[in-house]
């Protein structure tokens, strides 16, 4: 087997050295009844060429690449510069383990420190961790953390969350015994905070929200009393918009996929998690700190590990161990490759393109933006007739748009949401609009 270096001669010598006569003898400690019940997979071994052929056969059965995508909902089609993949492919990075031996892991640790800094910057927060699995579990862990701080057993959650965020938060909340209270949306497409529940540990908002609408966070924190403000934010939007931290958010989470990761049919993703420094001891996830070595040189180590499972065990703030470190590295290189100006430029392009599409569609009779409030990247459009049929006609014309059903479930029937990134050229937008005109 090509991934196993030892030869038969090596194995012979080793068996002799330990006084055994066969490999099978080494498994005599597994009960005979168990060994006898074993069934193989009926899988032949394959050469590398055969593996590649099998995979390429599967790849050919994916026709997604034939379409122009206006799909969004937390995962977006952004351009990833080649430099990101090249750096993340360096085997010193990707074949390394968690940096428990910091002296031989300064590459990973320094990059994670950069990542923490950049995410804290984007979100306008004091500290950020070295990643969670994805935006949904990051939000779920934020809800758990907020309730550890607030101890009310109840958390208010905006209705305008992406369905996948709500699903995961609900599952975690059920398991832990936290009651979730839904906060409705107003006619403007924003969460209606006029009747906020009392006695909650936190309020959870998403911005831009499930309609693409930017939530106005001004004054929200001040009205919450003791409750924490937890916000799930799009990181690219934060390069253009005032970030949640500036409005006093206590915990900010998000999905980092837009920062240089392929969609990969939904995983691996990248959970972002930032908070006030005061809550450091309640934070889940890995934290990297700057320190000094024995010669007085600057270096980086894992910090506050006593929050974590390997020390705190059942009293840990979270059970998370392996997270999304390599994805965080990719995101760091991506953000560094754009820089502050590039990120702002990118966000502006996304703003422009989505607004261009919105303006053109709104000229069709019967079509209107569902909400007047400002939006970023994604726009929800009401249309005459069956929106799902319109979506299928667009698909026939080569354009992919998200299903109308989640929007209907959120109280906006006969609507579609279009995500427009910098990869959607003006020509593609015009062709979509043309197709929409034809699909009416």
């Amino acid at each position: 087997m090509r991934y196993i270096p030892n030869t038969d001669a090596d194995r012979e010598a080793m068996l002799q050295a330990i006084g055994r006569s066969s490999l099978e003898e080494l498994f005599s400690d597994i009960p005979q009844a168990v060994r006898a019940s074993f069934r193989p997979l009926d899988l032949p071994a394959r050469s590398e060429l055969e593996v590649v052929e099998a995979a390429q056969g599967l790849a050919r059965a994916n026709r997604y690449g034939d379409y122009v995508s206006f799909l969004g909902g937390g995962v977006y089609d952004h351009y990833v510069p080649s430099v990101v993949g090249q750096v993340a492919s360096r085997s010193e990075f990707y074949t390394a383990y968690t940096p428990y031996q910091p002296e031989v892991s300064q590459g990973t640790l320094t990059a994670m420190f950069e990542f923490q800094t950049m995410i804290a910057e984007l979100f306008g927060m004091e500290i950020a961790n070295a990643s969670m699995y994805d935006g949904a579990t990051a939000l779920a862990e934020a809800v758990l953390m907020a309730d550890r701080v607030g101890r009310k057993g109840k958390v208010a959650v905006s209705r305008a969350l992406f369905p996948h965020l709500r699903r995961v938060v609900s599952t975690y909340a059920w398991a832990v015994g936290i009651e979730l209270v839904e906060v409705p949306c107003g006619a403007d497409g924003r969460t209606d905070l006029s009747a906020l529940s009392q006695g909650v540990s936190a309020l959870v908002l998403q911005t831009p929200n499930a309609f693409g609408v930017i939530e106005d966070l001004s004054g929200v924190k001040e009205r919450l009393g003791e409750a924490l403000l937890v916000v799930s934010a799009n990181p690219i939007a934060c390069a253009l918009l005032e970030p949640p931290g500036a409005f006093g958010a206590d915990i900010v989470v998000g999905e980092g996929q837009p920062l240089g990761l392929s969609p990969s049919f939904g995983g691996p993703l990248l959970g972002l998690f930032a908070s006030r420094e005061a809550y450091l001891r309640q934070m889940p996830g890995r934290l990297v700190s700057r320190t000094l070595d024995a010669a007085g040189q600057t270096g980086y180590v894992l910090a506050a590990q006593t929050r974590e499972q390997h020390i705190r065990r059942e009293k840990a703030t979270s059970n998370i161990c392996t997270n999304a470190a390599l994805c965080a590295l990719s995101a760091t290189v991506y953000m560094a490759s754009l820089g502050a100006e590039g990120l702002r430029h990118l966000a502006l392009l996304n703003w422009e393109r989505a607004h261009d599409l919105a303006a053109k569609i709104a000229t069709f009779p019967g079509y209107s933006l569902a909400f007047k409030a400002p939006f970023f990247n994604e726009v929800t459009v009401r249309m005459p007739g069956d929106a799902e049929r319109t979506r299928l006609r667009l698909k026939e014309a080569g354009f992919l748009v998200g299903s109308s059903k989640p929007l209907a479930a959120l109280g906006v029937p006969n609507a579609l949401r279009f995500a427009v990134t910098e990869k959607r050229t003006p020509e593609e937008i015009d062709r979509l609009v043309l197709a929409l005109g034809g699909a009416r």
Binding site: R20, G65, C238, A239, D293, R313, T322, N323, G339, H345
Partner: protein, 482 residues
């Protein structure tokens, strides 16, 4: 250690982006919502960027750099073809909300992977959603909780676990709302059946076991253990971190497991990435199948699609369907190995571990001197006065080896947990054993060599106390004019 924030900048980036059609301004964005403070993220030219990250990579030690015998982590070789396959645009570019007819290739391999893992586990069904082993444990605990809720068995609030358990086990149980009771291991390092029987009552929901355990020892009485657990009306959770010990030769379902998690980034060769992304698929026995997370992939005459109509499901534990890109690498690995290859994996892994154990026990204390599986635990105690396992570990760095797992499991003082894996040669093992013996001799003769170690790494020993007392978690920018 320079960060990107400290690199002197001469060029700037055009970010490779298309220029804006008119002067930059987000028309329609109210000033109150516009970002006030500029981001303090540097703009570098591409060469400067690449220099910085290439240099950082040289400070790292990966499996490709050298021997990495981290116990219970299975640092085996990561096949390169799997990296290329996961990057194929047809797989990497697919949006999770694409219609099923556009992603039949991806759905096909996910469906097949689910089947293969099910068969490897010898259990009824598998979910690919958990994104890591600990995430799989948490999902498993959620499933156990829901199962007993549905049975009306509200008294079952305790999880039993051995004192050798990995920290994620009790922590996952606690998050799911269970209390945790520790079972002392017997003198032979394995589950004490009498203690187990004494602990089992109608308040126990499940036992969480690692098989083989974290000492590298296979529970020879595993069938009696799971039988006792089932007799008491409880479930058996198996942590599959150590699957490399018996893959291709035995199945957890045949040992009595009701819930089992895989670590694709351990047993199935996907890269660790410096801390992820991993994947922790969970297999369950028949009574738990209906509670598995939604959606599941179903095969119909028209093709494969995602089924969300699962009213008894616990919900979801991941944004979408799990770490698909990671599962693809593991799938390619299984295709390459086949049944024969999987047997060779466990055969060589266990031979390598026993060979090393036999050699090293001449120099180091071996608390459990018997046939081990894919890993074994030594103690650094007694090598020399004032010399700790930590010192030995740091000195190994000077010999070009990544230290083994240290100070775990907790039941061995000054523990050194060594797992060579099957992808290391006899020559590497001999060199490692030689280095360990040399270090043991140095410890007696010139202990300062160990105390001052590492001396050949990019940094000397780092001050963890300082980081813990005064954490600096973000770059301390100097404000302009501040």
């Amino acid at each position: 250690m320079r960060t990107i924030f400290e690199v002197e900048r001469s060029g700037s980036s055009d970010a490779g982006l298309v220029p804006l059609p008119r002067s930059a301004g987000a028309d329609g964005l109210p000033p109150s919502l516009a970002r006030k403070r500029a981001l303090r993220i540097p703009s570098l030219s591409e060469p400067e960027l690449v220099r910085h990250y290439t240099w950082l990579s040289t400070l790292n030690f990966g499996v490709d750099s050298g021997f990495y015998p981290l116990g219970s982590c299975t640092m085996k070789y990561n096949p390169k073809v799997n990296e290329d396959l996961a990057r194929l645009p047809a797989f990497a570019g697919a949006h999770p909300e694409a219609d099923a007819d556009l992603v039949q290739g991806t759905l096909a391999f996910l469906f097949e992977m689910t089947r293969l893992l099910r068969e490897m586990a010898g259990m009824a069904e598998v979910t690919l959603q958990p994104a890591a082993g600990a995430h799989g444990e948490l999902t498993g605990m959620f499933l156990v909780k829901r199962y007993f809720e549905e049975q009306g068995e509200t008294k079952r609030t305790r999880i039993l676990l051995p004192d050798s358990a990995h920290g994620t086990n009790p922590s996952s149980a606690a998050i799911a709302g269970f209390s945790v009771s520790q079972l002392p291991s017997g003198r032979d390092g394995m589950v004490d059946l009498a203690a187990l029987r004494g602990a089992l009552d109608e308040t126990v929901a499940a036992i969480m076991l690692t098989v083989p355990n974290t000492l590298g020892l296979f529970e020879e009485r595993i069938l009696e253990v799971t039988q006792a657990v089932h007799k008491a009306g409880a479930l058996s959770y198996f942590d599959g971190a150590n699957l490399n010990a018996y893959v291709g030769r035995a199945r957890p379902g045949d040992m009595g497991a009701d819930v089992f998690h895989f670590n694709l980034h351990k047993t199935l060769s996907t890269p660790h990435g410096g801390g992820g992304p991993g994947a922790g698929p969970v297999a369950v026995s028949e009574p738990l199948v209906e509670f598995l997370p939604a959606p599941r992939i179903v095969k119909e005459s028209s093709g494969l699609r995602l089924d969300w109509n699962l009213p008894r499901s616990i919900g979801s534990v991941h944004s979408f369907y799990g770490n698909v890109g990671v599962a693809l690498k593991a799938y390619a690995y299984l295709l390459a190995l086949g049944d024969a290859g999987l047997r060779e994996v466990s055969g060589n892994a266990v031979l390598n571990a026993n060979y090393l154990q036999e050699r090293l026990k001449r120099t180091f204390r071996l608390p459990y001197d018997r046939l081990c599986k894919h890993e074994f635990v030594l103690s650094g105690e007694g090598i020399a006065e004032g010399v700790t396992t930590l010192d030995i570990a740091k000195r190994l760095i000077d010999y070009g080896v990544h230290p083994p797992t240290v100070y775990f499991p907790l039941i061995v003082h000054e523990a050194l947990m060594i797992e060579p894996t099957e992808s290391e040669s006899k020559g590497t093992l001999d060199r490692f054993a030689g280095a360990m013996e040399t270090i043991a001799a140095e410890a007696k003769r010139s202990p300062e060599l160990l105390h001052d170690a590492p001396q050949k790494a990019p940094v000397r020993r780092l001050d963890q106390t300082r980081a813990a007392r005064q954490p600096v978690l973000t770059h301390p920018f100097k404000e302009r004019g501040a």
